[in-house]
Structure formats: C-alpha cells, structure tokens
Amino acid sequence: MGGRETDVVLLDENGIRSDGRKVNETRKVTIKVGVLKNADGSAYIEFGGNKILAGVFGPRDVHPKHMSNPDTGILRVRYHMEPFSVSERKNPAPSRREIEISKVLKEALEPAVILEKFPRTAIDVYLEVLQADGGTRCAALDAASVALADAGIPMRDMVCSCAAGKAADALILDVNNEEDQAGQADMPIGYMPNLGKITLLQLDGVLTTDEFKKCIELGIEGCKQVYEIQKNALREKYFSSGDNN
C-alpha cells in the first residue's frame, strides 16, 4: 500500500492488469457449501488465489457465561491465517491485524443476522485462511455469509463483499495482492444486495471525493457479481434436485 516501488506493470497501455484482467473484472470465484461434516454450516471459497474455509456453529451455549446477553444472541467471529497461507511462515498466534479483521467482519455480519431470536446463546463463525492472495477479508466475509445461511441461521439478507481500489491512477475492481502492495488505494466493501445497505467499508490509501464515490459504485457492482455466485452455490446444495424458480 502507499505506492511502493515495484517491477510489476499494474496497468498496461491496453488497460489490462498484471494478472490479465480488465479494470472492472473480478477474479474467478468459486464457492462450495457444506464442506465440513462437524460444523452446523460451512463453506469453502476460492477467490482468485485466496482459499478460505468457513465453519459456523450455533446457536449454542455461551462460554464463558458472563459474555451471554439475556436480550439477544451474540455473534463471535474468528479470522485466522494459517502459518502456510503466506510465502513466509506466519506466526499462528492471533496478530493485531487478525484481531482487527475479526472485529470488522463481526460488525459486517451483525446487521444481517437476526440474533434477537436466540437470547443467551452464541453463534460462532470460524474463518481459516488456507492461502492468501490479497482481499482475504472480502473473501472471508463472502464465505461466512454462505456458511451462516447453510447453518440455517435466520438472516435479513446475505452479505456479499468485494474490494475496489486504485492502482496506476485507474479505479480497479477486486484488488489483488500486487495491486494492494503497490497500488494507491484499497477499499473493501461489504454489501447487503437486497436491502441495498453497506455493512463494511474500509479505505487504505488516498482517493479524491469523486474517486471515492465511483469506487463505491464499482465495488457494489463487484459485490453483486459475487452475490450471484453465492446464490448459485446455495441453490446447488439445496435445490439441485428440481428447480421451480
């Protein structure tokens, strides 16, 4: 971030990015639902080079008990990167960055999940990053939302997520690792497509007001593309025997 020097050409004269994408194109996304037998709900996402497993448990008893809330359920999210997820070994202890991402993802999911139905309980979301390639928090949020739906937890809407940003003075959709390192801005967006509400918005870098607005629009477009993939993944598991939609 912050325009570090790099050998990689982020955007060539034809408007093609370092990994061969156009400026408004996302990476290839595939989602599989119900991959973990012991979890109540689970999902596996491949978002370009990102590979993330999400497992959801609950609603279940809260331990330690003092964390429970008599009025509503609580949502707990743990985002964790495996030691082998990046090129140099990452210490498996939760880092400052992982604690922050856990928090923002929790807050991005909370508006969607109807926690009031389950007082005194907890819903636990575990997100394990197996392979990281820039934009893991967006991919993790996509997987978490699908896993929550798979667990049968009532939600007002799905949450889909995609980043937008700026590299080589152009606004780009779905920032990859190189663009994140050497680009000018990275803006992850979490979005509830049916309600039209943003649940996650962060910005690392510098954008003008005009660029900021365009970036949000671009990001939401990306979110909607991801939403279609999320829906298809869920449909494949639950409705594949006969489609009357």
Binding site: D40, G41, G58, P59, R60, D61, P70, A112, I114, K117, F118, P119, R120, T121, A149, D150, A151, G152, I153, P154, M155, R156, D157, M158, M192, P193, N194, L195, K231, L234, R235, Y238, F239, S241, G242, D243, N244, N245
Partner: protein, 228 residues
C-alpha cells in the same frame, strides 16, 4: 404476478417474496413493505398469511410441541434434558412428584437418571428462561425401550406425512412402534430385529431423500423389497 406469488418457490435469505399485506408466519420479516425470507426454504403464500418452510436449522421450542429428550443433569429441584435445541428443557421435580413436594436428589435419580429418555410436552417457552417441559400427561413420561435416532427437525413433517400416512406405512409393514418428537429425536421399538432394522432404514431413507417427490411410494417399495 398473482399466480406466481401463490406458488411455492425456492427462496434464500434476503429473497423478496411478496408485497401483499399478509400475516407474517415463520421465517419471514418485513422490510418496508416487502416481505423477505430469512432462511433457505420454500415460500408459501396462502390467502391470508405468508411463511417460508425452512430446509435447515435447529429446533426452537414451541409451546405444546411433543418432544423426546435425554436427561443431562439434575440440578436443585429440576432435571435438565437435551431436546436438540440451543436451550435445555427444564423438567421440574414438582411436575413428577406433585405440587409442594421437595424430593431429594436421590429420590429424583431413582425416578429419572442421567441418560434416561423421556417423551415430554413443551409446557412453557419464553425468552427469559429455559423452556419448561412436562411429563404429566397421558402417554408422556419415561421411554423404557427402543432405539433413539436423530434426524433434522425440519424433516419431521416429511416423516409423518400427510395425515400421518408415511409413519403409518412404516409402522404397519414393520410392526414397530415409532415415537416421534417434533425436535428431531425419534424412538423406534419393535420386538423383531428385522422389523426394527427395516424401520430404521426407512427413517434414514426419508432423512436422505426428504426433498424428493413420491417419497411414500419409494418407502413402500423399499419396505416390500426387504420383506421378500
């Protein structure tokens, strides 16, 4: 548009169902004027109400549901039973020993001990306390024998069938007695081993193929085939 809305449709969380001013039943919320599904399931719009039949999720206790539970612990004057929910069913000692009685722990253990299986009714369920269960009615109480199996609670209506057709089919052709709890716990008891195995196989088949059509016929065929 009207015709489409009255049909059952597959829905996902957040999917729009209808704008008609209907009574909201299970698994739907109102966002502005739009009725939205909160779960994966089948939307069902009837003349005066709208609901979504969920395809997954845990059991939530509802008053007057008949459930099967296993006793987990005895604490103070009550038993706590696993009823396949995020809450434990609380069975008061008074419910078993009569009003105003204060049984000792050993007396309670004698009547119902850890691991015992009971057929109970949800007597009360609110947001403040654990759901209260009761075994004071006829047909309720401890289940002495049988095989306990679990299926997802959303598949229980499929197991029972229209007016109990499915369960009657299984019971008639296997001579088994099947006690079904709304919470997804089922106890099957049968004097003959063969009948027991057949009934268990039939229930597992319903669990696996709950989403398919003509299930009653398939189960019938399976039961007949095994019988030969």
């Amino acid at each position: 548009m009207k015709k489409l809305e009255s049909k059952k449709r597959y829905v996902l969380p957040g999917d729009f169902i209808t704008t008609a001013p209907l009574r909201l039943q299970d698994n739907v919320v109102l966002e502005g004027k739009r009725v939205i599904s909160t779960t994966i399931g089948l939307s069902d719009v009837s003349a005066d109400s709208v609901r979504v039949i969920s395809l997954n999720g845990i059991y939530m206790p509802k008053i007057d549901d008949l459930v099967i539970g296993t006793i987990q612990s005895i604490f103070g004057n009550s038993w706590f039973a696993d009823i396949n929910s995020c809450y434990q069913g609380m069975l008061l000692g008074q419910d078993v020993f009569g009003r105003g009685s204060y049984p000792t722990t050993s007396e309670m253990k004698e009547r119902l001990d850890k691991g015992d299986i009971i057929f109970a009714r949800i007597a009360n369920s609110d947001r403040q306390r654990e759901p209260l269960i009761s075994i004071a009615d006829k047909n309720l109480g401890k289940i002495d024998s049988g095989e306990l199996i679990k299926i997802p609670p959303t598949k229980i209506p499929r197991l029972i069938g229209k007016h109990g057709s499915m369960i009657q089919t299984i019971e008639a052709s296997t001579n088994a007695t099947i006690t079904v709890g709304q919470n997804g716990f089922i106890v099957v008891s049968c004097d003959e081993t063969n009948g027991l195995l057949k009934a268990l196989a039939a229930i597992r088949m319903i669990d696996e193929q709950a989403h398919l059509v003509d299930l009653t016929d398939k189960v019938k065929k399976m039961l007949e085939f095994n019988g030969v």
